[in-house]
Structure formats: structure tokens, C-alpha cells
Symmetry: C2
Subunit: 277 residues, 2 copies
DNA sequence: CTAATAGTGTCTATTAGACAGTATGTT
DNA sequence: AACATACTGTCTAATAGACACTATTAG
């Protein structure tokens, strides 16, 4: 058939010409938790943590999963994700970035579903208690040996774990191939999404300022270093850390007192106009 | 309704419970073109280029666009993209990575379509002539001032251009916001996808080995430097470049002769086991 | 005083930038 | 010989790693 114009074509277009599918947006929400130390001198131990919700319906009933939901066709992808964030955390102004789109054929046993995943970073202290009705924070422990990554997730009551095999990239693709080789308690392919988030954050923390999205407005350099350490999963040297971070923070007049040691200056984030994405 | 088990639930699941949509995979295929120099002494000038196809149907009839197509629901996203690559270039073993998923509401005038974009890198010399039936290489010229990026695309017969405004990232999101402010001749939101590819490549060329996907099996360090220069859009210093690249290449016994100057050793890519993604 | 963290100074090793200088082919 | 690129050497500046040393608080 020949059309006279684009509007003529659109008027006759059959919207069901191609088979359709559903999409979801799923969000890996990271934060940092404190465990109060029993030694009055010591700093609170920090844990890197992720927010999971328990499924009450099929499929994967009673399993844990990432906050997410079907794409509302009236919304852009990111707005859909922000709606989910709002529902789960009651917060709007949260750091959110698109991670990766997972399109495996059997991701969802119901029908073909493609999931665009997002990573969100928040300062846990901003949440009010209400969030814990649906969702729970799990501390993250990563154990990487050879090409197997074992991730253990712990909340007060639950302990989940999964193992993923990272196959080395071939020349013709950019990423490791992730294969889930053990997974007791997480729904869908969410272990892969969590791992994608972990890797993204670990990389980006080194060349962007995203870490400050997980910090309170005022913080000590010691706390900030702790956060870097739990995310990078390694110890840092203090003088080097202070040198590197110096351009990104500014001193305030306030001091953190009360630890059994020298008080610490409180800092705040200072954007230095670095536009690196 | 209460279900006895997951399989019971699935047996009764209504696949049309949620409204559905279509997806496409669109591919930004980059390569490097040579322009033969008229001075026998000089090296061939190199251009950074992208492969576009002309649309022969509505919508956006007669406009240029990225190779792409609707998602075949029997295929994974990446396989769908590889099929398109195969159709367009007749090559299979091509570097391909997922870029970003674009979910704007009015991307496509026909219906709601979400596009997962990919970036492919190839050595143009591997293509046989046949590809040029549908597609054409456009050399890329970028002009960035303040927050406006102007991109000019030139083939032998056509000259396209678009302008995009990059709005500075806010704290709550990771990327620049891209707004198309001028676009004569490209279909859909493809200017945004091209820009996303340009930025990704520019970043990744500095910390990965992907550039070698655009190189022939044997190349001189001068040619390799030229490629870095057209992609980064700046001149590099020779000694520094050789130092940095040294770990990624190995000498062969062959020489490139025939230029009106000292012959150059031909190198090949040597993976140094660097696993950085 | 002690334990623990806060914060500074400095030496060294490594890497990046700049540029001069030498080498060698074709016409 | 002249030109253009190929390739090497070296000085300097900037940055990262390592570690010793001082400061300050609660108990």
C-alpha cells in the first residue's frame, strides 16, 4: 500500500503488526548501614547494604527480590523507576541511574519480560521507619575467587546467598558473561542485576562523586573512608585518601565529639565542577 | 484466587493482564575510514565514521537512521542486535556492547516503543562491497561549545547534522540530559543514541582495549595513534602514546614500506590479561 | 596513662607531559 | 637533498604508596 504522507500512514497503522511484550523496571537500592560498636572507643562498623522486598505472590512466592514493577505505558522508563522508589522509600530526590537491560528469554516464567534495571543510592538515615513494612536491608558480603563470585546477603532474620560465574569477556562483547550457578532465595535473575550494580558502583566510586549520595549532609573523613572501604572491599591508606578526597569536600566549623579519641572535623560535599559522567 | 503452587499459578496466568509494548534494538556501528592523501609522503587521513541506513518506508520516510529493528520475541536482546548486524554487514564476530535503553514516550509516532541501543565496532576493511546497497558510512565531525554539541555527518553524497543540548547532571541522576535542539535528517531519537555511543567510546578507549576492534590485524603505531586522535578529538604526544600502548601490542617481523619516509614496524594486538570491563 | 582515631609531613616510586634528537624510506 | 614519519632518550612535574610521627579525647 502506498501512503500519501506520514500522517496518512499513521492513520492506517496497525499497532498489532508486531508481537508485543511486557517490561519491568527493577531497582538495586544501595546504602550503608552502621553497626554500633560495643567498644566506646571504636568507630561504628559500616556495612554496604541493599534493599530487598519479599514476594507475597506467585511467581517466586516467598522469595526475596529487588523493588520493581511492570512498566506503566504512560510513563518513561526512569519515571516508572522513580515511582517504584517513591513507593518503596517514600523519597523522591534520590540518585538513580540506569544499569543494564536484561532480555533473557526465560527471565520470567509467566511471559516474555524485558527488565531495565536501575541503581539507586541513598542515605539510609533519611528513611523513616515505614519502609520496613515491605522491605528489608541486607548487608552485603562478597567473596570472589577465580571466576566465581559468592554474594551473601544478611538481614537480622534472613541470610541469602548466591554464586555467579563470571566468564571472561570475549573480544566480541564488552562484559563478563554472568551465569547464576547457585541461588536459593532470590527471585528471577535478580542475582545478576545485583552483581551488575555492585560492579557499576565499585567502578564509578573511583571516578565520580556518587558516593556522597549515600552520605549524610555532614560526615567525618573517617566515616567517608569507611564507606569507600566497604564498597571497594579493601583497606585504604589514610594520608592518600585525605589527599585524594580533599578536592571534593569542605570543612565545616562543627566537630564530631564523644568518641574515646580526638574529635573529628565534620565535612560536607563540595562539587568541584567536575563533569565526568 | 489462591493457587496451590507455582505451576498451578502459571497454568492460570493471564498473559494479557498488563498492557504490552514493542521493543527495538538499534545499533551504532562505528569504524574508521581512510582518505588517501594526495601527498605521497603523508599518511592517509583518518576519519571516525558511523554506518547509517536510509529509510524507505514511513515513518520518517527518506530520513537516515541507525540499523535496527523490532525485537523478535524468540530472541534475546543481544541476539536480536547480532541478527541486525549480520543483515547489515554480513559479519558475525563483531564487537557489540549494550549502550543504553531509551524509553521516551514519543520516540516512535506509531506506538510505544522502547529501544535498547548497542554499540558495535568494526574494521571497515572486513566489509565487502555488498553492504553499501542499504547502508552508508558517514564521517563524524564534532563541535562542542559550552553545553551544545553539534555533530556533522558526511558521506560522499549527503551531509547531515544535528545539535544536542547537554544539561549538566543533577545530583539525583547520573547522565547528562540530552535534548535534541536541531535535527534535519535523522529519524526517531537516533541523534541521542549516536551521542551516547560517541561518549561511551570516548570514555572506554582510555581504559579498555576496544579500539583494536576497529583495527586490521596488522597496523603501525602511527595508524593506531591516528585512530585514538580522531576518536578523542585531540592530538597526542608520540613518546607518551608509545609508552602507554606498549603493553597492549607486540611487534611483528613485517614492515610497512612505501611511504616517503622511514618504514614502520607492523604491530598486532596482544591481550595483556587485563580484565577491566 | 591507655586505646583508639584524627590529622600532618615526608621520602620514594611510578607515571605523565614536553621536547630534543636521531633514523630511514621515497621522490 | 628534502620531507615526512618512525622511533628513542631524557628532563621535569605530578601523583600514588608507604610509613613515621604528632594531636586529642573518654574512661
Amino acid at each position: 500500500m502506498e501512503y500519501k504522507s506520514e500522517s496518512d500512514f499513521l492513520a492506517h497503522y496497525n499497532k498489532d503488526a508486531y508481537e508485543k511484550l511486557s517490561m519491568t523496571t527493577d531497582i538495586v537500592i544501595f546504602s550503608v548501614s552502621n553497626k554500633k560498636s560495643d567498644n566506646y572507643r571504636k568507630l561504628n562498623e559500616k556495612f554496604f547494604s541493599v534493599l530487598l522486598v519479599k514476594r507475597h505472590n506467585y511467581p517466586y512466592k516467598d522469595k526475596w527480590c529487588l523493588p520493581g514493577g511492570f512498566l506503566d505505558l504512560k510513563l518513561e522508563l526512569e519515571d516508572n523507576a522513580r515511582n517504584i522508589l517513591k513507593k518503596e522509600t517514600n523519597l523522591q530526590d534520590i540518585y538513580l541511574e540506569q544499569l543494564y537491560t536484561f532480555g533473557g528469554l526465560d527471565r520470567d516464567p509467566r511471559l516474555r519480560v524485558v527488565a531495565t534495571s536501575y541503581m539507586a543510592l541513598i542515605d539510609k538515615e533519611r528513611l523513616n521507619q515505614q519502609v520496613y513494612d515491605n522491605a528489608k536491608w541486607f548487608n552485603i558480603f562478597i567473596n570472589e575467587k577465580d571466576d566465581i563470585v559468592e554474594v551473601v546477603l544478611e538481614s537480622e532474620d534472613d541470610r541469602l546467598s548466591f554464586k555467579i560465574k563470571k566468564t571472561l569477556k570475549e573480544l566480541t562483547t564488552d562484559r563478563y558473561r554472568f551465569d547464576i550457578i547457585e541461588n536459593d532465595s532470590l527471585a528471577f535473575d535478580h542475582p545478576k542485576i545485583i552483581l551488575a550494580g555492585l560492579e557499576r558502583l565499585k567502578n564509578k566510586i573511583e571516578y565520580t562523586d556518587i558516593v556522597f549520595n549515600m552520605m549524610p549532609p555532614l560526615f567525618t573523613l573517617g566515616e567517608l573512608k569507611q564507606v569507600y572501604e566497604v564498597i571497594l572491599n579493601k583497606k585504604l591508606l589514610d594520608p592518600a585518601f585525605r589527599r585524594i578526597i580533599a578536592t571534593k569536600v569542605e570543612k565545616t566549623d562543627e566537630l564530631q565529639v564523644g568518641g574515646g579519641h580526638r574529635p573529628s572535623v565534620l565535612y560536607r560535599y563540595k562539587s568541584n565542577g567536575d563533569k565526568k559522567i
